[in-house]
Structures are given as C-alpha cells and as structure tokens.
Point group: C2
Chain length 717, copies 2
C-alpha cells in the first residue's frame, strides 16, 4: 500500500505517528502539520535532545557548587568559569525554546506560560550576569539574585511533566489550605496570649537563664515550634517545674494544634488532591482518545461498512512510533489489535494502540545454554547434570543464606585479626563461585534479563567488592598507605552483600518489589524537594553566609567554642557542637535544610536576628505541605496497587500469548505511577465509542463539572 | 389492639422492643425470651446502670492516683482505703456480670471471651490484693502486679464497643505489620553494621565525651532513635565534623527508614484496616437487619396478601424503645414509615425503624417570644422593634467583632495599669449586654436549642468570667490575698471569649463544625490511648520509681544538680533540667509518656540500665501503630463526610416535613462516626428484601468472602 501513495501518504503516516507518540506518553504539544514541522518534532522528541536538555539543566543547577561561596573552587579560569558555563546553559535553553517554537503553531506558543516563564528567566539571568560582572570589574561585591530562578528551567521544560503536575496540584490546594492555616494560626495566637497571661508575671527563667514567656512575639514563635514538637519538653519545663497543673496547658495545646489540626490538614489536602487529580486525569484520557482518533482519521481506508487501517500501514506506524521493539513484539501487538486476522485494524482496536505500546513486554526467549551448544557432551555429562540439579535445589539457596549469616558475624568482629581478614577472602570466593555456578546452570541471557533485579544487584555488588578489595590490598602492599576511601567502599559493599538474604523470604520479596515499584513516584517527589531545597538554600546562603563558622577539631582558637560568632557564647547551639550546621556553602545549606525537615531544630534560628525566624517558618510550612502530599500519594498508590492486583488478576492470562515459539509475558500487573492507574480507571468509564469533548473544551474542564450527566459531544461512531 | 391480647402480646411487644433497641445501638446481646429475662434486659440497659458501671470503672482506674506512690495521699484510713475501694469496684463489676448472666443464655455467656476475661481479671486482682495485704501486715513491701490489668474492665464491658472494635482492628493488622517491621529492623541492623565499620575505628567522641559508635548494640539503639528523629542532628554531628561525606550515610538512612518505611507501614495498615472494617460493618448490617426482622415477626399481623404491623402496636413499640422522644417526633416517624396512611407499617418500612430512630431530629417549635405574650404592647412598640432590627443587622455582629479585637489588644497589655483593669469591666459589661439583647430579640428556647453550640459556649464563658472576676475582686478586697488559681481562671476565660470571632467567618465555622463532628471518633481514640498509657505508666512506675528525683527551685542540695541520681552527673538530661520528667507517680508518668509520644526524647532511657531501652522502644512502637491508625481514621472520616455531603444533598428535603405547625429538620447531614457512615454505605448495597445470612453465619463471616456472589439465604420476602 505504502509504495503507491508515496509523498502524501508518507507525510500522513509521519504525522499520525507523532499523534500516537503524544498519546502514548500523555504529551500535549500541538504541532504544525507541515512536513518540516513534523520532522522537527521528531528531532525535538529524540532521546539525545532530551538527554542534552536534562544534562544542561543539571549543569546549571550544579553551578552553585562552584560559585562563591564554593564547595570546590574551580582550578582554571577562576571565578569567570561559572559565568561562562551559565551563559552556555542559557544558550542551550534558548536553542531548545527556538526549536520548540518551530514545531508548534505561533499562537499556541505565545499563549503557553511555560515558554514565557523560560524566556523571562533567561533574560533576567542574563541581566543579572551582566550587572554582576560589571560590579566585579569595578571590584564591588554584588549578589547573584537570579540564582533562585534556576529551578524554573527544571519545572518548565516539557519533559518534567510529573513535577509540573505535582506543583500544579499543590497550587490548587492552596486556597483551601489557607483557611485551615489561618484557623490554626488563630489558635496559636490565642494560646500564646493565654501563655503570656499565665506565665508572663511569674518571673520564671528558661534553662539558658533568659526570662520565660514575657515577650508576646517570642511566645508565638516558641508555640509554633512546639507544634513541630522540636522544642517539646524544653519549652514546657519551667512552667511544669513551677506547678504541676500548667503542663495541662501544653498537653491541650499539643493535642489541638499538632494532632487535630494535622488531621484536618491531611483531610483537606487529600480531598482537594483527589478532586483535581480526577479532573487532570480526565483531561489526559480525553486528550489521548482524541489524538488516537486524529491519527486514525489520517490513515483510515473505507472497507465495507466501516473505516479501518490496513495492516501494513499499521506496521509502518508502529515501526515509526516505537522503532526499538522487536518484530515479534510487533506481531504480538498486531495479533491483539486484529483479533480476527482480517488484515486490518478497526477504530476501536486502533485507539487502544497507545495503551498497548505502554505495556512492558518481556520477551522470554527459550535459548539453549551456550555451553550446551558449544560442548554438548561435557555439559550433559553426569557430573555436569549433577552440579546443575544441585544448584537448582532449594538447599543451595539455604546454604548460601547460612553463609551470609556467618559472614554478617565475621563483619561485626574486629578487622585487625589477620584470620578474619583472610575469612573475607574466603567469603568473597564463595560468592563468586555461587555466581559462576548459577551462570553455568541458568541461561546467561535469561539470568541477566531486564526484570531480574536481584541477579543484577548481586553480581554488580560482588564484582565491585572484588575490585575494591583487590585495589585495597594492592594499595596497602605497594605504598603502605591504606586508602580510607577505598576501605570505606569495601566496608559498604560487604554489608550490602548481606541484603541478598531478603530475596530468600517470599513476604520480604513482595515488600521489596512494592518499594521498587513506587520508586518513580518517589523520584517525582525527589524532584519537587530538590526544587524547594535549591531555592531555600540559595536564599539562605545569601542571608546567613558566614554567620556561623566551623573550626576543625584540632584548632585551639577560642572562636571554636562559639562557632566564630560572639552571640553564640554559652548557647545550647555551640555547646552541642552544631557549628557545622551553617549556610556557608550550598552543600552545608542542603544538609541544614535536611535536618530542619527531619526535626525543626530551630536552635539556629534563635541565634540570628528575628527576621530569620520567618525564613525557617516559611520553609517548615512548605515542606510540611509537600510531605503530607507525598505520604498521601504513596499511601494511595500502594493501596491502589493492592486493589488492582485483584481486579486485573484474570487479565494476565489473556495477554500472555505464545507466538512462533516465543513466550511473552506482561512484566508487571501493577501500575507504576498513580497517574497510569487512575487514567486506566477513568478510561474504563468512558464508553469505547465516545470521542470526548473537543480540544478547547478539554483544556477548560473544571473540577466542578467532574461528571457531566449528558456529554455534549457524541459525534464519534 | 393491645388491650385484647394482653399478657402474651405484651410480652411479644417487650421482646420486640428489646430487638429494636439492640438494632438501633448496633448491639449484639443474645437474650433469653422469658418475661423475666426481657425485663432484666431492660434493667441492664437502663442508663443509670450503664452510668454506674462507667463510674466504677473510672474510680478503679483513678485509684492509681491515691495508691503508693501517691499523687494525693488520702487523709483517712491511710493505705487501706484504696484497697477497700478496689474491692468495692470488683464487687460492682461482679454484680454487673451476674446480672448479664441472667439475661443471656448460659451457653452464649460461657463462650464469650469478654466475660471470661472479666472474671479472670476480678479473680487475679483479688488474689493480688490478698497477697499484698498479707505482705503488708508482715511489713514486706510487695508489688501490686495486677494493676496493669485494670483497663481490661474498660475494654470488656459491653458499653465500650467502639474501643473494643479499635483494639480488634489493631490486632488484625499485626500479622501483616510484623513482616514490614522485620524488614525495617533488618534495614536498621544493616545500617548499624555499616556504621560500626565506617565510624568505629575513627576514635571519634560524642558531645558528652563518650566513644562514638563503637558498641554494636548501642549503635542499633541510636539508629532506632534516629528513625523517630529525636536525636536527629546530635547523632550525626561527630561523623559530619570528621568528614563531609559521612552525612550522606545518615541522609540515606533517614530517607529509607523514616520516610519510605513509614509510607509502607501506612499503606499496609490502611489496606488491612479497610479489609477488616468492611467485614465488621457487613456483620453489623446483617445483624441489624436480622434483629429488625425478628421484631417484625413477633408483631406481624396478616392483612390482605402481606404481613404488617398495626399502627398502635408500632406506637407502643416506639414508646418502649425510645421513651424520651416527643409525641410529634413519633408522629413524624410514623408518617415516614406509613407513607400511604394505611394505618399499618409494612416489613420494608418497619426494618428502617432502627435507622430512623438514630436520626437526630430537632424540633423547631415556632414559639412566640415570652415578652410578646406577657407585654405585647411594649415588645411591639417602635423603640423595641428598632432594637430588635438593630440586633438582627449584620452590623451588630461586625461591631462586636471589632470589640473582641480591641479586647484582645487590651488583654495583651500590662495588667498592672489600673485603667486597663477597669477596661476589663467595660468589656465584660459589653458582652453581657450583647447576650441580653440577643435574648430580647430571639426566642430564648430557640436561642438555647440543643444544636446552638456557639450560643451555649458564649453564654457559659461569659457567666463563668463574670463569676470568676467578681470572686477575684471580692477576694482581693477582703483578704488582700490574690488567689492565683482564680486569677488564672479569669485569664483563661478572658482569652476563650475571643474564640467567638471564628463564628463570624463562614469558612471557619465550617471547619469548626467538622472538628466538633469528629469528636466522637477522637474520644474513641482517647480511650485507646488511655488504656495504653495506663498500662505503660503503671509498669513504668514499678520499674523506674525513685530513679530520678525532682527538687524544687529553691533547694540548695547538691543532689538537685543531678536529679538525685549520681549516674546523671553532667548528663544533658540534668543540664536541661529535665528532673521533673520522672516515673515517681502516675501523673508524672502520664506526662513523660505524653512527651515520649510527641518526641521520642530518649535521654531518659539512656541514663537507666540497658533493659529500660526495651520499655521505651516498645512504647514507641505501640504508640506509632495507634497514631497511624488514628490519622487514617480521621482522614478517612473527614474525607467521607465531604463526599457524603454531596450524595445526601437531596435527602434533607425529603425528610424535612411540616407536621401540625411544627418544623422538623435533620440535625446533621453528616455522619458522626466512621462506623455509621460505612454501615449506611454497606446497607445501601444489601437489597431491601434480603434477610441476610443466619446469626451463626454472620458471626463467622471472614474478610475474604467479602462479596458473596450468590447469597445463600434469600428466604425473606
């Protein structure tokens, strides 16, 4: 078919493939339909282009490590190197934007806030760079105030859809959260007022000797910190020491403001999240349907009463959309799409293609063992068979579990004993023998198949341990210098080897697999946290840099006692040796923010000026909202996974097909992201014939008309 | 009808009423059907008997306050008073049990673990009392080891159904949680091993000067505490000070063990909870259905083709079941049950009776204002009308909001200024005038109706403030002695008055109402926490009593510096003046446990011997499981409330009926407990005609056959 409708048909095919590609990856990039634009669109989506974009975003963010105050000073070109690299990054971002402008219609391009955002950020950063450079030349120290804008590139480039959606969802929750937050703040203010009246005139002293609860603003701050439970017994002790009954005040306060308000926050966020997510997912589902129908309309041919897509057109399409899947996989997809083998695919089956392409299919090729092909006599001899059945036996696994346990004991024992040092070699050999035996017994390509997580994990740990141990021994024997870094790595690898024992227990394996499955959601959350941390640490660095100094353990300067800041003399902060918790460079800032996330340890906030408290409170609020969201997401995800396991129990059988001696199986019945799951659930609700509302309508769907009783558009079938 | 079938019919009516009563309150007490047993059953359920049981349970638990080590020593009879009271409590419990044995068939009574539990507890406590008394007489100090058993009475008396269900649900979750917990512990052990190898040989020192990370068991404990984030930066600082990179180890540890494992815990608990709750609710719903059908069968009369219950039988029944509802309310129920006014109630409507009785109906009687009746001329004169319209005006509310804000400022100002002291009187007068004006304008009985929470709150606060202020002034002028307690109360009441401002803002009112609605669930959780706290504080008291002593601020003994325990010399615990955090009496123990719940501040654990750590870790695990459960419950409850608000939007209209000049309205569309909501949802799934499985089958339902495709029993209609 393809050969006798060349240029136009080829163009239609390309365009249809672009539509299917968009539907498969849930993208929504309206592109122009000229041949050039479609070809540019392919280039735009090429993995190398996307990887390059991510690389430069990463470089741009990583610049903070080398800029003043630097964690590592760049050896060459000095302080201008970072500026040069930043200009390069901006050029790349601009190029990417120009490329995108070529693909998408002009009107759409200028309406998209993402593009405007990127452009403004590039411009602002350039201005900042020029001003900073000019000031530097005239020897004035300027502030690089545009640096907190850098995460905008991470959020706004089209590839970071997940992070953007998470941000949008947080933004949607804000209005409702605000009311709960105001009520919460009202409660804090009321309690603080009560505390002022109750304790203010008692002449009580804190542990540090300062007056207790006499300044209203300070009380409010202390009570806020108490909600985070960071100063839990300390803030209460003076009042409690004074009278038994006053601790009731604090207990009531904690119950109301920590537990009850947290429940309400959780409920509000969850409700709102659900409401908006449903709408987003509905949009995506309609969008996907529409893209697939547009692709179908480009390729359709009338056959009998209905329109269909011919088999070879379909094959060309799949080849274009997913060039890296095997021929047999493609055959399988065709077999599913064209169940009656009519040589064509109807509309209903065609629409399902985007989902079919998303199913991860693992080709289990029933190879023979290479040794069986090369030396069949040796491989099938009695001793060889005996070894193979031994390795397959359960006792083999148990034996190695016992070895691992013994190894754990040996690791815990003292390293200095030479016999234990030798034992390490014995264990290493045992593990290597195990892997070799397994490779001898099982077919290597199956052993290292993509879904054999534990085999990969095992082998890489053992090989790394082997290399590190050899390196360590070599270094020690040659230079007498015992490299601490290498030794540390050896220790870590040795302990990691023990994790293997989890794999032997069925229940643990299930939990571990669940954990591995939620990783993508975790990564999205990680991206979000990175953005927040980055902004806060750049801002924190500009404000607090140099306020607290760390002196290494062997210095004898008196400054070391109060972290180089006289205001910290005799403070709990200095006494607990927290001097290294400072904002002197981006790595330290990250670590301080991490500590604040775990426990809102505001000792640091108390030592700098009042306005600093604002910084810490803001950070705490932002991080609490994000963590609540994440907990919900994960809880929900795991929860749904359990449910869907039952629901889809029967499906596996239908999609597992035997074809030309190959075995296929669906890699995972579970959904890897909440999105995929919810979308699937929602799609089940749309009747297969329905085309859904038009594009403009889809984009303007509001969460309130979540269930249109009478769908207006029904012009599909 | 009732008059000409006297004794038997009367008996049937009584029994039917008992069934309906059980169905209404979701109770399942199989009782004998003899007239005596039914009458005893009524007595058993009488509110006074239930209140007495709760009172004695409370007294029994409160005994710990007066027993050695006492918070208050009883002035008379000395140490034997508590034993006497305890014997009295045990007698009451035994009496209640005997009463129950009379009501229920013998075979059922002896099968019920609740009853066995109570009996064993009574017996064990008696033995303990005798042994303790005997030891006391021979002047040996014994341990009252049966005291942790006391909460058993709270859990096992039939009235505490909610708490029992919560406990059962926790018990059901345990097996699945155990696996996650084991994996979690494995991870902690692995990381500890790694920490030992990485930091053990570095000769690092903690802030307190002891060697850092050299003992494996101590590392495990520290790492466990790090999961609770209680020792967050401290445990990390020595390694972080030594090298920048080591803090990565701690960051990875916290991410994996605090955040990821928490998510998994949450998901497992939630799933399990949902699975089992569904089953419980299904049991309850079937049970209710069955009870109602049995009641129906006792009263049914054949009329035409179907069985019905005659109207006056029905009225007698309702009068027996709910003696305190008004005649008009009963008429309303009848109107709903007998919609076609046929003078009888059919089976389907009869079954709904239990639910109808549970709906809180508020009778809005459109009374005239009493002043309108007594002095109509004055009340309807122009100035009076003017005042009334003024009070009804929005500006009136705003004016008082402004007054409240000004009052807040005055409260924050210094009390010693006499003008501000006078201003207090002005504000108090203004508030009293407001209430009087409102009472003048609105009908007092409507103003103080049962659902007018804010009016009640307001008035009681103002009256209490008035009394306290007068009392305070009187005390000051008479005795020159300024009673601190009264003054404290005055302060608190003054601040509480400010809460009123919330009522003016619609969004805040909604959130507050939601909070008030979840109170019942909160109380169940409170009961659970009470049980756990009680057991742990009694045990803690026996183990740690006297280990740490508190000396009041003005003592000069050197012991005060280390809380009377030489082991605490120079510890952070003593330096932070935590001495009052001890287990020397039950009140202190409760407060320490509260602090441990908020932040696992294990400073205390570190100073006593190793085994004490076990106590703290156990407590932490138990409390974490409970809090996770509670968060879920509340989140779920609030969530469902929002949803059901929409679902039931239309229903209010149907049940709001005008009858004989009275207005009824359903008090709250929202469900007050998760149970009620879920039950309602499940009941909607059972077809109205179905009778459900038999009693034995209901009791043996397992969560796995949650959806029987083909219900076996269908012999109802």
């Amino acid at each position: 078919m393809l050969e006798h409708c060349c240029p136009l048909c080829q163009q239609g095919l390309l365009q249809a493939a672009a539509y299917v590609y968009d539907a498969q990856y849930n993208r929504n990039i309206p592109f122009e339909t000229s041949p050039k634009a479609v070809r540019l669109y392919y280039l735009y989506n090429h993995w190398s282009m996307q990887a390059a974009t991510y690389f430069f975003i990463f470089v741009d963010l990583a610049l903070a490590l080398f800029e003043e105050p630097a964690v590592y000073l760049l050896p060459f070109l000095g302080k201008y190197a970072t500026s040069l690299v930043e200009v390069l990054c901006l050029l790349v971002f601009f190029g990417r934007l120009v490329h995108f402008a070529q693909v998408t219609p002009r009107s759409v391009f200028w309406k998209d806030t993402k593009n405007i955002c990127i452009m403004i950020s590039i411009l602002v950063t350039l201005i900042d760079l020029i001003v900073y450079g000019a000031l530097r030349i005239s020897a004035i120290r300027g502030i690089r105030w545009s640096r907190p804008l850098r995460p905008i590139f991470l959020i706004n480039f089209a590839e970071s859809r997940q992070i953007r959606r998470a941000f949008r969802s947080i933004r949607n929750t804000l209005p409702e959260i605000t009311y709960v937050f105001l009520l919460f703040m009202f409660s804090v203010l009321m309690f603080s007022l009560m505390a002022l009246k109750l304790f203010g005139d008692r002449n009580l002293k804190t542990v540090e000797g300062s007056p207790y609860f006499t300044n209203y603003l300070e009380i409010v701050f202390n009570m806020y910190v108490l909600v985070t439970t960071a100063n839990s017994p300390d803030v209460m002790m003076p009042a409690y020491d004074f009278s038994w009954w006053y601790c009731l005040f604090f207990i009531v306060y904690v119950i109301i403001n920590t537990y009850i308000f947290m429940s309400v926050f959780l409920a509000v966020v969850y409700n709102n999240y659900r409401k908006h997510l449903k709408n987003e997912i509905r949009k995506l589902a309609y969008m996907k349907r529409r893209k697939m129908i547009e692709a179908f309309n480009l390729l359709k041919v009338k056959e009998g009463a209905e329109f269909v897509v011919k088999e070879d057109q379909w094959k060309h399409l799949v080849k274009l959309v997913a060039p890296d899947i095997s021929t047999s996989h493609r055959e399988l997809l065709l077999r599913i799409s064209d169940e009656e083998q009519k040589g064509c695919v109807d509309k209903k089956s065609f629409v399902r293609l985007a989902d079919l392409l998303n199913i991860q299919v693992i080709t289990i090729k029933l190879h023979s063992h290479p040794l069986d092909i090369w030396f069949p006599h040796v491989y099938n001899s009695t001793p060889s068979l005996c070894i193979r059945s031994m390795v397959r036996h359960k006792g083999f696994v148990w034996m190695y579990d016992v070895i691992i346990l013994i190894n754990a004991v040996f690791i815990a024992l003292d390293e200095k004993n030479p016999y234990i040092s030798y034992a390490e070699w014995v264990f290493l050999c045992l593990y290597i023998v195990e892997i070799l035996l397994k490779l001898y017994t099982y077919e290597p390509r199956n052993f290292f198949a993509r879904n054999q997580f534990w085999n990969w994990f095992d082998t890489s740990i053992i090989i790394a341990a082997l290399i590190a141990t050899v390196l360590n021994t070599a270094l020690r024997s040659v230079t007498i210098y015992n490299s601490q870094q290498v030794l540390d790595i050896v220790f870590i690898l040795r302990v990691l080897r023990l994790i293997r024992i989890i794999d032997s227990i069925q229940r643990f394996r299930v939990i571990m697999n669940t954990l591995i499955n939620i990783m993508p959601t975790m990564l999205t959350f990680g991206g979000l946290v990175l953005v927040v941390y980055y902004i806060f640490s750049i801002v924190g660095m500009e404000i607090f840099q140099g306020k607290v100094k760390f002196f290494a353990g062997n210095t004898t300067t008196p400054h070391a006692l109060y972290c180089g800041n006289p205001a910290l003399k005799d403070s709990t902060f200095a006494r607990a040796k927290y001097c290294k918790n400072n904002f002197n460079n981006i790595a330290s800032s990250f670590i301080v923010l991490m500590e604040l996330t775990v426990v809102n340890q505001c000792g640091f906030a108390l030592v700098t000026h009042q306005a600093a408290k604002l910084y810490f409170i803001t950070f705490h609020i932002v991080i609490v909202i994000m963590i609540i969201k994440d907990e919900l997401l994960n809880g929900k995800l795991l929860d749904n996974m359990e449910t869907s396991e039952n629901d889809l129990g029967g499906e596996e059988g239908t999609t597992k097909k035997k074809l030309k001696g190959l075995m296929f199986k669906i890699a995972s019945k579970r959904y890897r992201t909440v999105d995929a799951l919810l979308q699937r659930m929602f799609e089940a609700e749309i009747p297969p014939e329905e085309e859904g509302p038009s594009l403009d309508e889809i984009l303007n769907l509001s969460p309130n008309d979540a269930y249109p009783k009478n769908p207006v558009f029904d012009n599909a079938a």
